[in-house]
Amino acid sequence: MKLFEYAAPTDLAEALRLMQRGDGEVWAMAGGTDLIDQVRQRRKEPSLVLDLKRVPELQAYQGGPQGLRVGAAVPCRRISSDPLVKDRYPALAESAALVGSVQIQNRATLGGNICNAAPSADTAPALLVYEARALIAGPGGRREVPLDGFFLGPGKTALSSRDILLELRLPPPPAHSHSHYLRFIPREEMDIAVAGVASLLALDPGTGRCTRARIALGAVAPRPVRALEAEALLEGQVPTEALLREAAARAVQAAIPISDVRGSAEYRKALIEVLAYRTLEQCLQKLRS
């Protein structure tokens, strides 16, 4: 492994000060499950690894009627096992439980999954359907970025090399809503998504009309993307099986996948249609039961 120094600051001011070396010299680390392997493979060559787990702001964790705040260094396992997250943000609980093995989930964090910005990141589609926002601290102060504008491309985010992601903020889910995340992998456990879809559906309990639809796709574009046209098709309508199928077909239009070792572009598009339908159908079933 490349030789580097290690620091684990216990306050944010010190962490930000150390980040100002910038330009690839300093790499922020939360769980380390991506970074340590990338350094070993010399895909990243830090002179300083900045362990942010001891910075209190990155361990913030608060859920309630106001929504959910998850510090960037909170491990996936804590999120996926939280009854509040399972109840109010099921797609997030489901996706956080799919990030690698138990061993990985005990270290890997929501913040790291987002900052690593793999198009296949399992938690990204879920965060997109909940319209999460990223709270970022940098040399110029703090700012909030909607997650939709956070991902710029594979491994590229709205963070500069001098910024630190503090937390993810999820607004309360809409009333009478359900959400679900599904991905396809060729085996049962421990793999990277060939394609993934998170869906959120909210219905007016009186009229049965869809008051909000959110569909987000993973591993089928340079960044996780929303399927806006499919969402628009559903909103205002009373969902039927035929309408869900039409929306699922339309979700494919937002997919611009590549062909690689995990699957061809055509196969990924076919998967998106199936996964979009299944996630929507499951939301509908839950809402009507």
């Binding site: 380390g32 392997d37 093995s101 061993q103 990985i104 421990m190």
Partner: protein, 162 residues
């Protein structure tokens, strides 16, 4: 330009109940520190990138891949390795069960499986087979086909091993 070697970092940590003070390299993994600095070679490196689970240890009670933890991250932490399973000369029931069921062949993955299994039972003393299989999904064995490993853990879960 002369290569500057980052200085070692003093690491205070508890391993298998014993306090340790080690001088670790900042770029050393916990796995390397356990083996090379603490002399505890029971923990094995398989893949070295978090896929195989061979290097699983308990870190503050939770199973982690020690190849994906930097040694200095263990500051003030509590580590349990396979050497910490046997108590007062008595094997952990899991160790007995693995032996009785022939749940190993080459043995490289075994310490990792034992620690992953210990973590499953610590959080749920009577897990179903499904829970066991999910709990060891991050541990690869290229010899046994898993069946004997699952049977051994099931035997302990059912209280058949003391």
């Amino acid at each position: 330009m002369a290569l500057r070697i980052p200085p070692r970092i003093p690491l205070r940590t508890t391993i298998n109940g014993d306090p340790y003070e080690l001088m670790v390299k900042p770029y050393q993994t916990l796995l390397e520190a356990l083996r090379d600095e603490a002399g505890l070679t029971g923990t094995k490196e398989g893949c070295g990138n978090g896929n195989c689970g061979s290097c699983t240890v308990l870190f503050n009670g939770l199973p982690v891949n020690s190849c994906l933890v930097l040694a200095p991250e263990a500051q003030d932490g509590h580590i349990v390795t396979v050497e910490g399973l046997a108590k007062d000369g008595r094997l952990d029931p899991l160790q007995k069960a693995f032996s009785q069921h022939g749940a190993l062949q080459c043995g490289i993955c075994t310490p990792g499986f034992l620690m992953a299994a210990r973590a499953i039972l610590d959080s749920n003393p009577h897990p179903s087979e499904k829970v066991i299989r999910a709990g060891i999904a991050g541990n690869l064995c290229r010899c046994t086909g898993y069946d004997k490993i699952v049977r051994a853990i099931m035997a302990v879960a059912r209280g058949e091993v003391d």
